[in-house]
């Protein structure tokens, strides 16, 4: 239960009760895209429990969607909810950076420490 570890500045995370909406932009099944997806799933499973939704958008199939979120790099992870929106580019292999970017505290359970 992450809500116990609330930090004062993370006021937005009071709504941690809300579901996280994440969008992963990929371009077909390239190695980077697959890696990103795998990493994302792992991170979400580890840190978000059940309260998340991942939407994978294949820009090769739907290129017009790149404009909305201003996607330039592939893969890009966009956290739509909770606000503020965050964009993370890369295959998400640097977990620490991902967590910092998503304002997720590194979980003690994994023995990771926040940076």
């Amino acid at each position: 239960m992450k809500t116990a570890t609330r930090r004062p500045k993370e006021t937005t995370r009071i709504e941690a009760a809300k579901t996280w909406r994440l969008r992963l932009y990929v371009a077909d099944q390239t190695p980077k895209s697959l890696t990103a997806f795998a990493n994302l799933q792992r991170i979400c499973a580890q840190y978000l429990d059940e309260r998340y939704e991942i939407e994978v958008i294949d820009l090769l199939k739907r290129p017009q969607l790149a404009e909305g979120d201003q996607i330039v790099a592939i893969p890009t992870l966009v956290r739509r909810l909770p606000v503020p929106m965050r964009k993370i580019i890369g295959d998400l292999s640097n977990i620490k950076r991902v967590l910092i970017a998503l304002d997720l505290q590194p979980h003690d359970a994994g023995g990771h420490h926040g940076d």
């Binding site: 990103a36 090769l60 201003q70 893969p75 965050r86 890369g90």
Partner: protein
């Protein structure tokens, strides 16, 4: 010849015409088709506008839709800026001839976590190109990505890939880049885009700003390597190429009238050659503008269009002033045969003036151009710069077979010809107007200083500006030289008086002769009369003498008869005879 994977023979490099006035001439056809061109320059020198005009004209004039991928300005901002050039971008977007894609990379929003590439950019660009079948692409300015994306290694690799991809896609692309201190672009884009590089420059010299363009590099094509001035105004870009430095333009043999009959006579009897350049120099108030107006009037009377660049007086003032000598320019303006362009020279630089004139001439297509006066440019540059600009102007007009008429103000005195030397070699016909001062008055005179290709009068002819226009007086040479004005009138009167008195003297002499003759005749008559009288007298005397002689003889005979007598018989008879 480079060993590129071009499908065209390397000799004839296919080009995409830009439609930008002058740029296609400098680049000998346009930008390299299917390749990226780098346009670099400092901020505010017009890169975005150049790129936009390239796309708009491509879509409108050449049927090539375009994609404008912008990294700095938003689509509405671009549209508004383009509107200042007279481009309706919104309409083109609706007609699917143009796509504007604003790619915004906000550094604070992005976090990097792992390996990535810029495939998203590719996808977007590809999507935009395919959605309208674009043949032209602009990326303005890719360098913004360097600020937004943290990993330069990836970025540079992807840019290299992007430009390769653009070539494969076969689109003609313009990439803009901001000028670096030592390098052409701040981020060194010239490393990736090196088929064709244009450099824009915006200089301010002596408070006057000038824009210049230079083709730094154009692989596989000839190009002008100089700096070419250009201007940006409501009709877009206008670059001024020097089209005929080769001096191989056509010449005409046709002669046209100057508008003043006597002047035509002074110019070999037929007037000026069409397409020649005429310089009219004179001190203040000698009638230069009036002459120019006569020239214009004559041209319009032939149905030709005239373009009048007024650099010191406002057109309305010129029109008003010329009405006083009977030249009605208003009517010509109304009929669309005459167009005035007025501007104070100090408003912009020499090159901008030249570019403006280029544009005006290309739009109005006149057969006659007047620049009044060219000395208004002296404040804008050094002598050689002005000469350079005028040389380009004269060249430009000659190529178009436009007869040009330049007026120039001189300060008078002996330097009358000297001040014009820098440009006189560009001029075919040089007319000098001068004031002749004599006996307290100044009168106007004109003198054909030179006129190439024809015999011309070498006389200094006096003329006056009357309500009927420019009227030349006959040449009057008196004992003191050429006389003008009231001195001439006085001299004319004097000579008339002299002639009169000579005539009178002749008459008097004739009369004298007559009188003498009459006197002689009278004398002869008297002598003849005397002679006649004497002859009569003598004849009478001769007659008397004869009579006496006859009487004497008859008396003698009588006496003889009576003395011989016959005695008594005849006494009676004798007596009878005697008494008888």
């Amino acid at each position: 010849m480079t060993k590129k994977t071009t499908n065209n023979h390397p000799r004839a490099l296919p080009k995409a015409p830009t439609g930008i006035q002058g740029l296609d001439e400098i680049t000998d056809g346009g930008l390299p088709r299917g390749r990226p061109t780098l346009v670099c320059g400092s901020a505010g020198c017009g890169k975005t506008l150049l790129a936009m005009e390239f796309l708009v004209r491509g879509a409108v004039e050449f049927g090539e839709p375009g994609v404008f991928m912008t990294f700095e300005e938003t689509a509405p901002e671009l549209t508004a800026n383009a509107a200042s050039l007279g481009f309706d971008v919104d309409r083109l977007v609706k007609q699917k001839k143009l796509v504007i894609d604003f790619v915004h990379v906000e550094p604070s929003e992005i976090e990097e976590a792992g390996e990535y590439d810029l495939e998203g950019l590719f996808i977007r660009l590809n999507h935009a190109i395919d959605s309208i079948g674009a043949k032209r692409v602009v990326l303005d300015t890719v360098e913004s990505l360097f600020a937004g994306l943290p990993n330069e290694r990836i970025l540079r690799a992807e840019l290299r890939r992007l430009f390769r991809w653009l070539k494969e896609k076969g689109v003609t692309a313009i990439i803009t880049g901001e000028r670096g201190d030592d390098t052409l672009t701040r981020q060194g884009l010239e490393e990736y885009v090196s088929d064709c590089v244009l450099l824009l420059d915006h200089r301010v010299v002596s408070q006057v700003s000038t824009r210049r363009l230079r083709v730094v590099k154009y692989r596989g094509s000839t190009h002008g390597t100089n700096e070419f001035p250009f201007l940006i105004d409501r009709q877009g870009f206008c670059v001024m190429p020097v089209t005929s430095l080769a001096l191989d333009h056509d010449v005409s043999k046709e002669r046209i009238s100057t508008g003043v009959a006597t002047l035509d006579t002074m110019l070999g009897g037929k007037g000026l050659y069409r397409g020649s350049s005429v310089l009219l120099t004179g001190t203040a108030g000698t009638g230069k503008t009036s002459m120019a107006a006569c020239f214009v009037r004559a041209a319009c009377a032939r149905g030709e269009r005239s373009l009048y660049f007024a650099l010191e007086e406002s057109p309305r003032q010129i029109v008003r002033n010329l009405r006083s000598i009977g030249v009605n320019l208003d009517r010509l303006v109304d009929e669309g045969l005459l167009q005035f362009h007025a501007s104070r020279p100090g408003l912009c630089g020499l090159e901008t003036h030249l570019a403006t004139m280029h544009r005006a001439v290309n739009q109005f297509r006149p057969q006659v151009v007047v620049v009044d006066p060219i000395t208004a440019f002296t404040a804008l540059g050094q002598g050689f710069e002005i000469r350079d600009m005028l040389m380009r102007l004269v060249d430009f007009l000659k190529v178009k077979r436009i007869t040009s008429f330049f007026t120039s103000l001189t300060r008078g005195g002996n330097a009358l010809e000297a001040t014009e030397t820098p440009i006189s070699s560009l001029i075919d016909t040089w007319l000098l107007l001068r004031d002749i001062e004599l006996d307290g008055e100044r009168n106007r005179a004109l003198h054909v200083f030179k006129s190439r290709g024809m015999a011309h009068s070498n006389q200094v002819r006096e003329f006056v500006l009357t309500t009927r226009g420019v009227e030349f007086q006959d040449v009057f040479v008196g004992p003191g030289g050429v006389l003008t004005g009231s001195a001439r009138l006085a001299q004319e009167a004097q000579e008339k008086a002299d002639r009169l008195s000579r005539e009178q003297a002749t008459q008097a002499m004739k009369r004298n002769l007559d009188r003498k003759r009459q006197a002689l005749d009278a004398q002869i008559a008297v002598l003849e009369a005397d002679f006649a009288a004497a002859r009569t007298d003598i004849a009478r005397q001769i007659a008397e003498s004869d009579m006496r002689a006859t009487a004497l003889r008859s008396d003698r005979d009588e006496m003889k008869r009576s003395r011989q007598g016959e005695g008594t018989r005849n006494r009676r008879t004798r007596k009878q005879a005697f008494e008888g």
